[in-house]
């Protein structure tokens, strides 16, 4: 178990701290609030067509504003960045841990936290949707979409770890990581629009690698979940994972620790 000492130490401090529980409570509170608001609208409006149109755009839109990606961006920046703010990276280095090991430990910790938020957030969304609308209003292939989210989130967290391990400012890390969540979505939409004219399959795949694309929530067109573009989306995710991790380690190895 010697090689897992850092991961063990990181988990010990995360679970001892308050930040994780505060972020979980905020996530829970936000979705609960959305559920209450939409339930009230339904109560007032009834099962009208206007209501359903509103629910199908409004609910996803609010989820998009603070999806698990945003919470993950904050969590990763806080937990990884705390080693900079407390200057505790040097404890790890002078205790004989290589910088690669420190990086992988931070990545493992971030993925584990990402998994916690992923499960909690989507479980609450599904539950919230059941309460507010009487059921999760997406399509029959939603399960597959969620599975596809796994490599996508791993890619996103890998990029966030890359940022947090190489930016000393905690606040800066949070801002950049949130910008990445929104920025990549925007860029992907742009790239997808351009690519769409040349290669529709690649365009769909690029669009799919960003789970915050409102489109995923708004449309139930499962034609996009074809084998080719799912494969391409996974491939692009793995490219991000490898590029971010290799690049992140290379930069962190050269970094002067205060």
């Amino acid at each position: 178990m010697k090689h897992f000492n850092l991961i063990k130490a990181d988990f010990r401090r995360i679970f001892r701290g308050k930040a994780l529980y505060i972020l979980l409570a905020v996530s829970f509170g936000y979705i609960a609030l959305m559920t209450v608001i939409f339930s009230l609208i339904r109560l007032l409006e009834g099962d009208s067509e206007t209501y359903y149109a509103f629910a199908q755009t409004g609910f996803p839109l609010f989820l998009f504003m603070m999806g698990p990606g945003i919470v993950m961006a904050i969590a990763v920046s806080i937990f990884v960045g705390s080693d900079y703010s407390y200057n505790t990276f040097r404890n790890k280095i002078t205790a004989g841990n290589s910088r690669e090991k420190i990086y992988f430990s931070a990545l493992t910790l971030s993925l584990a936290i990402g998994a916690i938020f992923f499960v909690v957030f989507y479980a609450m969304i599904i539950l919230g949707a059941r309460i507010a609308f009487g059921g999760f209003f997406f399509h029959e292939n939603t399960g597959w979409v969620f599975l596809l989210f796994v490599p996508i989130y791993v890619a996103m967290i890998s990029i966030m770890v890359f940022v947090s391990m190489n930016i000393k400012s905690n606040a800066g890390g949070i801002v950049i990581n949130i910008a990445i969540v929104y920025g990549l979505t925007f860029i992907s939409l742009m790239v997808s629009m351009v690519l769409g004219m040349l290669n529709p399959v690649a365009a769909e795949a690029i669009l799919m690698i960003f789970p915050h694309s409102i489109r995923e929530f708004l449309h139930s067109n499962m034609a996009t979940l074809s084998g080719r573009n799912v494969g391409l989306a996974i491939g692009i995710s793995f490219f991000y994972i490898i590029a971010a991790t290799v690049g992140g380690i290379a930069l962190f190895r050269r970094k002067a620790i205060k």
């Binding site: 010697k2 000492n5 850092l6 063990k8 130490a9 010990r12 401090r13 001892r16 701290g17 308050k18 705390s82 407390y86 200057n87 505790t88 040097r90 404890n91 790890k92 280095i93 002078t94 205790a95 004989g96 841990n97 290589s98 050269r254 002067a256 620790i257 205060k258």
Partner: protein, 308 residues
Amino acid sequence: MEKILETFDLTKTYGTQNAVDGVSMTVNKGDIYGFVGLNGSGKTTLIRLITQLVRPTSGTFKLFGEEFKQSFFQSVDAEKRISSMVETPSIYLNMSAVDNLKVQCTIANIPIADNPERLLKLVGLDPTSKKKANSFSLGMRQRLGIAMALVVEPKLMLLDEPTNGLDPEGIIEIRNLLLHLNKEMGITILISSHILTELSKFATCYGFIHKGKLLKEASAQEVFDSCKTVISVECLNAQLLVSKLEKDFPVQLNGASVEVQGNDQTMSQILQVANDNKIVITNINKQEHGLEDYFINLIKSVDTNDTI
């Protein structure tokens, strides 16, 4: 004497500036090595180089007689462990002292057992306290930082300004703790500081660094021997006093006053000579030139040579 740390032409360059410039130094087993330099002279950078927080531009160093290996920082070989506290203590401020030490034990692969409680008692902190480190005073944080460094039971500790910002009581406590670690636990200590009067109370040898260059290494005895006590005497017949004293003391006439190098007994001897020869003394005072003067003179001579 067993060499614990040797650096060979160690250099760290930032841009065009040499923060550490070809430093070759030696720390022997059992030393309390006082690393003396002005702010920005390269003390911290050198410690950071040895602890691998930054990489050297050139040069090497040996620890325990061997080329540097990452394992020196690990708990594998009990005889070859080192630890450090660089500038401010690295502690999780949102955790208690015990939790900080538990995390550090895990990071260093040391069984937790009763280690945290034992180390906290050793550094004089309450092991039962649940207080978070963010409510600690600076002195308590420094002591916790030292406890963190002691987790691996090091044979060499590198401490960068451990008394910085402490009140006099805190300084004395840290000094006594370091003396205990050195004398009772056999830990060799390299300590950097610019509070030279404090350092001179317990360092066994010194390394003087200025503008990134190691100017000199000397034992505490050598420094002590070089530090002069000068007694300045003003009297009515200075010439006569000089002639009477010059047989026994290094003496010189400086304007109207006679300057005599000596020690604590010299003053009474001068008074005796003056009395025997009926020389009327109008003023007499003693100036002690300690480590501070030694260091200032050393850097002045270097700066003067640089200017020339």
